[in-house]
Symmetry: C2
């Protein structure tokens, strides 16, 4: 089993959906990634920053799941990153109501000494230069570097994004972002162009339509589990990435065949995440439930046509 370094936000979210609304609750890409990866009992550490207003109980939720939080800096006189969003009726579009960077504005990630030899690094959605500084702190090139990003960095830090993309193995990105990054409508063509930018594996997330994994001429497709209702999509993409990274860190096998399984685990965990507000569902998730849902995914996708 490999060590896993996760960099991302640990934050407050306030969410409003057609089903209700929350006060400030535990959020942030680092939290969702860490909770998903913790399903695999890997040694993982979150590198992040919070303010003095961040409850110890939230940090305890992470360390209770054996996540190393020594890399989460606490700026006592600062305030924690805060995001608030409103989802529309179709749950596929949202308005950002509040973004307060607070302590994130000056965030300088520091990877704990005992994690600088980690074989797997998951770079959650942050400024590309912040993601890069994590790679610069590793003792050697990790076996697998996974990067998540978003359109905001394409609009505001494209050259920096290009630079960090040259040093990663896997990128996770949504369909619209893949199109924006390449100028190509076809996701097949977009994925090929992204591979030319650096990462040899490209995961394109399509929300309710699932996710595609590309590598050379190989493609794998994992659907999203069809759900009666999506209660709150917040964190689903990060949970997907955390499941993907956690499974690969556990199995230490980065073959395309095994990455297929990682995508299925990512989709499986994401399907739980959307069932309750924020990280609530992930905090109560049992091994038996995950097992059962993996079986659902098999039933959903596996068929028996004899080719003869």
């Amino acid at each position: 089993m490999s060590k896993l370094v996760i960099v991302g936000t640990v934050a407050f979210d306030a969410i409003e959906t057609p089903f209700g609304k929350t006060d400030k609750i535990l959020g942030g890409s680092g939290s969702f990634i860490g909770l998903a990866a913790s399903q695999f009992k890997v040694d993982s550490a979150i590198v992040s920053v919070v303010g003095g207003d961040f409850p110890q109980s939230y940090l305890d939720l992470l360390s209770d799941r054996s996540i190393d939080i020594s890399g989460i800096e606490i700026v006592e006189d600062g305030k924690t990153f805060f995001w608030s969003g409103l989802y529309h009726n179709d749950m596929n579009s949202r308005d950002t109501l509040v973004t307060e960077l607070n302590v994130l504005a000056d965030f300088q990630p520091v990877v704990p000494e005992n994690y600088r030899d980690a074989k797997v690094v998951m770079l959650g959605n942050l400024h590309p230069m912040t993601q890069m500084s994590v790679l610069d702190q590793m003792n050697q090139k990790p076996q697998l570097v996974i990067l998540d990003t978003m359109n905001f960095w394409m609009d505001n830090a494209l050259e920096d994004l290009y630079t960090v993309m040259k040093r990663i193995d896997v990128i996770t990105i949504n369909d619209e972002e893949a199109r924006q990054l390449t100028g190509e409508y076809s996701l097949v063509v977009a994925a090929r162009k992204i591979q030319e930018m650096g990462p040899k594996y490209v995961v394109i997330k399509k929300g309710e339509h699932g996710a595609l994994l590309f590598h050379d001429d190989n493609v794998f497709y994992a659907p999203a589990l069809p759900l009666e209702e999506v209660f709150d999509p917040t964190g689903a993409g990060d949970t997907f990435a955390g499941g993907f990274a956690g499974y690969l860190a556990k199995t230490e096998d980065t073959s395309f065949e095994n990455m297929k399984n990682a995508v299925i685990y990512g989709s499986t965990l994401a399907s739980f995440c959307v069932e309750k507000f924020g990280a609530e569902r992930m905090l109560e998730l049992s091994r038996a439930e995950v097992f059962h849902r993996l079986q659902d995914f098999k039933n959903l996708t596996q068929f028996e046509i004899e080719l003869s």
Copy 2:
């Protein structure tokens, strides 16, 4: 092997896409369904109507593939149904430029005598009462009745659609139409409501995002093959339905497990249909190509997670 009755249009299409445009070419739901089903060497008959302007060579294309065309009425002094459409750059939306019903306006389908005992009936997209009259002509209730429809009939003949839906086993419908028919955004909930309207199997087509098969609490998902480019989507839905119906007629097995295979065959054949204008690709399709693409579908979707 069962006999298969297909009712649908045999028509002229004129298509314009970002890649080019055609004059009047062979089109119509009956043609696409028939050509797809002919891949399975089943005994099939198309029930339709054309005008005196319809070229014998187009009819020959169908009968050359062992499709019984004795149920295609030729109205010598009438003109053939004509549709013309313009696809936009994303190929997901189109404008209808021309719809000339012509001989279709007075179409009274007549099922050939020797097909009135067919076990499988595929009702292509037509007025629900026209679809119903085909069922009324069968000697007994067929083993499997599959119906395709569209939003136009929901807007203009909803009560008739409800009536025919009570007499069918499988409905194929796209995602927006499923939402319109039920008023439900969640496709899981929509599929359940549609089952309450009659058909015990519901196939929801999601275009480039694949297709879902629902029955009771079971769900199966077949993705669309990710393609470098979609050249012309015309007929893809009908080709899907034809592959689905043809496979079930050939195998005479209407279990959920076998319907999964039928969905995969439908998706496979549809993935060819969009590669060229109209039915062009379907007319030149070899068994080896289908075989090879089924293997692509396996690679795309099958994975090996041991659940222990």
